[in-house]
């Protein structure tokens, strides 16, 4: 009972602020509503007793990426950049992508409903309060079972980071 109240509270905030985010004209307002949506998602993680995902969502997305977004929005003049984005082709492709995503979500929900006990529904979920502490579990699975994919992903990110630094450097040197 309490769980579903918390879930619908956070889910409602997330959906509402996601809608507000795409309808605001002001880029900073959009960024604020995106932050709210991310925080509400973090709240849903917490309701599912996934504390580590909750705090990682806040540290990475809200504390890191969103602050970067706002930083960039403040440095870049969006009123110059935005009209270029408003072409017909882009509008139509955006509408098509949105339709495709909605269709996909609808099909998944429909299929999950039709076959009882399968699809999205987990047959007999363990009560969240009984789960083992998930920080340790996450570390165990990351560094034992999935060590190789984890390392590959880290190397990939490192390469991307170094690449970004090199590209940034080159531009200021040639200026």
């Amino acid at each position: 009972m309490l769980d579903s109240i918390i879930f619908y509270f956070f889910a409602g905030i997330a959906v509402l602020s996601a809608l507000l985010m795409i309808t605001r004209r002001n880029a900073i307002h959009s960024a604020v509503f995106l932050t709210t949506a991310l925080l509400a998602t973090a709240g849903i993680f917490l309701q599912l007793h996934a504390e580590f995902l909750f705090i990682v969502q806040i540290i990475l997305y809200v504390g890191g990426i969103m602050v970067m977004f706002i930083f960039v929005i403040m440095l870049v003049r969006l009123d110059v950049a935005l009209p270029r984005l408003r072409s017909r082709l882009r509008q139509w492709s955006a509408i098509l992508v949105a339709l495709a995503v909605f269709l996909e979500a609808g099909i998944i929900l429909y299929l999950a409903r039709r076959i009882p006990g399968e699809g999205l529904l987990v047959p007999s979920p363990a009560p969240a309060a009984k789960l083992p502490p998930n920080t340790e579990d996450l570390a165990n699975s990351l560094f034992h079972a999935y060590l190789l994919p984890f390392e590959i992903a880290s190397v990939l990110l490192l390469v991307a980071m170094i690449g970004a630094v090199v590209m940034g450097k080159n531009r200021s040197d040639t200026k």
């Binding site: 900073i28 504390e51 540290i59 403040m74």
Partner: protein, 452 residues
């Protein structure tokens, strides 16, 4: 009985300590922040051979309350061109983040809201990472050049130094093996050493990063008054300004608490396992009694009757708490036995946090402000690599201890020395690099859009 009321009562019975602590944090932190400001002004006055605030109350002791009243009745100005909603919301966000982060801090074995959540200190760090939002949004909403430059500086600085702080905390987490606040402190008791001794480089990088994270001198560029008026707070007045101010001081308490918990042994007394230092257990009572006696002596010299009464009240409050400490000590009254560990732990925790904040102030009055490029260079070129090397060093030391059975202090000493040498090399290499860069910059000045 009504089942709803019954469940509410059951909830209260299970959670009253936590609820009380949450209430105390929200109620007391603004007051404590006010008194930190007073202490800061007094210290600054002392270091500059002045008296500081002396007019309101004995030795200016009521100054924070007068200041708070003044801020409450000041006009709340919102600039005509400001984004009103964001302008209104930003300082609230800044303070809420700091106060929420205090929720997961344990001020003693008992005084905590949520001590044993699985993510512990990460929660404190993560929630206080929301603070920069308040700053950057407030600076943007003010629609003022000084504000926005201050906000941009602050964001750049906070992102850079949060990384360092995170890496420094990782070196502590490696030693503790857990993120739970209570378990970290108890692990330090079990290890017979504060982690400031086991990971000294981690502690020092965290100390520097935490000063930068709280926007304090010598890292106070976001509000450098000689360059930016007051940075992101320029357009704020009255109580909204006070909210920013409270957020800043609450944030100081947060970073000091995190540093204390992870590196300075939390609520344990210094050297908790050394027997001949057992007399330290009597220190809280003695210290409070000494403060009480001092207040009684000074009470006679106060000019006004109100001031005398005030001093007597303070003295008797000190004696009362000292009496509780003395009576609750191991041999005495049984009922007080229960509250003793909580009070005693809270005393040491607060002493350590105060010492930490004192270092902040001391540095503020002794060091000149950095230039923005120096600040960025210190963060990205020296502190972040050093903190990374330190994680590696601590990891190697742990592997040597548990894998090869080395003596703990030997392993720590070797890896720490290696880290320090790496740090010195970094600084040296960086200095050369900086000289070359500044020569190049003189030849062709590059525009730096947020250096002010």
């Amino acid at each position: 009985m009504n089942p709803a009321l019954h469940s509410v009562l059951a909830f209260l019975q299970g959670w009253w300590v936590e609820l009380l602590c949450a209430f105390l944090i929200v109620a007391l932190v603004p007051l404590i922040a006010g008194y930190i400001v007073l202490v800061e002004r007094k210290l600054m006055a002392d270091m500059q051979a002045r008296l500081g605030p002396m007019r309101v109350g004995p030795h200016g002791l009521l100054q924070p309350i007068a200041d708070a009243l003044k801020l409450l009745i000041k006009e709340d100005i919102i600039p005509a061109e400001a984004d009103k909603l964001v302008f209104w919301f930003a300082p609230v966000l800044s303070m809420t983040a700091a106060l929420t982060a205090l929720g997961a801090v344990a001020f003693g074995p008992w005084f905590h809201v949520a001590r044993d959540i699985n993510i512990g200190l990460l929660f404190v760090v993560g929630i206080s990472a929301l603070g920069p939002f308040g700053i950057v949004l407030g600076g943007w909403a003010s629609n003022n050049h000084y504000s926005i430059i201050g906000a941009l500086r602050s964001t750049a600085q906070l992102i850079s130094y949060e990384t360092t702080a995170g890496f420094a905390l990782v070196s502590g987490f490696l030693l503790s093996g857990t993120l739970r606040v209570g378990a970290i402190v108890e692990q330090q008791r079990a290890d017979h050493a504060w982690y400031a001794f086991l990971a000294p480089v981690g502690f020092i990088t965290y100390l520097i990063a935490s000063i930068a994270e709280t926007n304090r001198a010598p890292f106070d560029l976001p509000e450098a008054e000689s360059e930016l008026v007051a940075g992101y707070m320029t357009e704020y007045s009255g109580f909204r300004w006070a909210l920013y101010f409270l957020g800043e001081y609450a944030n100081m308490i947060v970073v000091a608490s995190v540093g204390t918990t992870l590196f300075l042994g939390g609520w344990l007394r210094p050297f908790p396992s050394v027997d001949w230092l057992g007399w330290l257990d009597a220190l809280p009572a003695l210290l409070l009694a000494a403060v009480g006696v001092y207040c009684l002596i000074r009470a006679g010299k106060q000019p006004a009757q109100v001031q005398k009464l005030f001093m007597w009240a303070v003295a008797f409050a000190c004696f009362g708490v000292a009496l509780i400490f003395a009576l609750a000590a191991p041999l005495a009254m049984a009922p007080l036995h229960i509250i003793y560990p909580g009070l005693y732990g809270a005393f040491w925790f607060l002493v350590k946090v105060s010492a930490y904040i004192y270092v902040f102030m001391w540095l503020r009055f002794t060091l000149p402000r950095f230039r923005f490029d120096q600040l960025m260079r210190l963060g990205w070129h020296i502190l972040i690599p050093l903190a990374l090397v330190n994680i590696l060093g601590v990891g190697i030391a742990l592997a040597l201890i548990s894998g090869l059975g080395w003596n703990r202090w030997l392993a720590i000493a070797i890896t720490t020395t290696a880290t320090v040498i790496a740090g010195l090399l970094l600084i040296r290499w960086n200095d050369r690099h900086a000289v070359a860069a500044s020569l190049a910059a003189e030849a062709s000045p590059v525009e730096d859009s947020y250096a002010g």
